[in-house]
Symmetry: C2
Subunit: 240 residues, 2 copies
DNA sequence: CGTGCCAGGTGCCTT
DNA sequence: AAGGCACTTGGCACG
């Protein structure tokens, strides 16, 4: 058997099973590890699924995250979020990795027939990611330069709370009317219009509908959303 | 150097860089592989981010998926969806993995200083996942047994298209009124109420508001959503 | 391909 | 903990 750190992995015609596999996995528990194994997966919680025997990649992080990847796609076929607890147990001659989530109660069981590779990792980066081009970026751009929306606009508040949600940006126009702005960083759809409408009607209750305008600010808008927007007397302002 | 298949991985105090690393990676291109490396990551596309030098886990799938994981969390820190193309190039003495997406145009560059482990995988499962307990399950339950919502209810249509979206289930009640049902598999929030309202008002245009009811069907509802729902004259039916 | 919308969404932040 | 909401949301189905 090869050295345990940082890696345990036999060539492809070799594999570990039963006791030997369990012994390897014991050393991996609580660490960051990548496992390549022939396994069966059962998930039960908010939903429920079952994967038959197959070769899969399993990633376990010390924070409780568990990811089970198959051949295709971005999303893991099954997973468990951070905060879960990982246990190693036995079902007959097979080692079983069981990940448990408390609330909501969810369990994943990975029954391991053959372990083909186990990579135990000692150190992994953890970094703050400063993402650019977000919706918040778009809002602050307008806060600094309200005329991007329209001349004479004056910002009153951002992240303005109401009983039906939070208004991205609240302003007053040249004629003294309240202006509710909802921002989208990408194509705005029906949901965005509905959101804007909720806020506008909320503000209209105190100030009167004629004293409140609603503007959807986005780089683009779907045609159905545009139609719905117009029908509700709301406005669209293109901004990238 | 160890055998290339299915695994290339030095013990932790060993690593590969420059030409040697490039040579290894060349063999991995187009295959399913897991890479543990000291790297820098640049992403630019719909958004933009930059990760400084750090030890990370990188997964590349033959379908073009690229995942870059750090120590914590379920979601990859950076990624590229299926359909992207992966290239291996050189930047000074460093090998660079570049993943390119066409539409929208997005690029990830992974500059590799040290390769600590490379696991090349020959075969991975690909399975149809039949997920249970979905929203569709809830709808078909009601289709089979409409009295779960209310006695005397008659189903007219499911997935009923309108200009403002698709109604989950359309029915008629004992008094001949139209009933628009919007289903949620989990806690219903403000967005769900807005959705239901869109559909109800759409149907009301043809039949008159007094001839149309709207019912939000979900296992639970937030208090703010409940308040908003009541205000709009819509109904809530708890169903698990 | 655009558009709507569900998802075991996840993650972040505020009450 | 509950709730609102953005997200490089991803993924799918349908016009």
């Amino acid at each position: 058997m090869l050295a345990l750190e940082p890696l345990i992995a036999p060539p492809e015609y070799e594999f570990y099973e039963g006791d030997e596999a369990e012994e390897m996995l014991e050393k991996a528990l609580g660490r960051f590890f990548v496992l390549y194994a022939l396994c069966r997966v059962e998930y039960e919680g908010r939903a429920k699924s079952e994967l038959d025997w197959g070769l899969r990649i399993l990633i376990s992080k010390p924070d409780g995250t568990l990811l089970i990847h198959e051949r295709d796609k971005h999303k893991p076929r099954n997973w468990q979020p951070p905060g879960c607890k990982l246990y190693l147990l036995r079902k007959g001659r097979w080692p079983v990795l069981m990940s448990v989530r408390r609330r909501p109660h969810e369990v994943i069981r990975v029954v391991l027939e053959k372990v083909l590779a186990l990579l135990i990792i000692n150190q992994v980066a953890r970094e703050e990611l400063a993402l650019e081009k977000t919706e918040a970026d778009l809002v602050s751009k307008v806060v600094r330069e309200p005329s991007l929306i329209e001349e004479g606009l004056e910002v009153i508040d951002v992240e303005h709370p109401t009983p039906v949600g939070t208004i991205d940006l609240l302003a007053r126009d040249g004629k003294g009317r309240l202006v509710v702005c909802e921002f989208k960083r990408s194509v705005a759809g029906l949901d965005a219009v509905s959101q804007l409408r909720r806020y506008v009607e909320q503000m209209a209750e105190a100030h009167g509908r004629e004293k409140v305008r609603g503007i959807l600010v986005a780089p683009a808008i779907t045609s159905t959303a545009m139609r719905y927007l117009a029908k509700l007397g709301l406005e669209y302002k293109r901004l990238t």
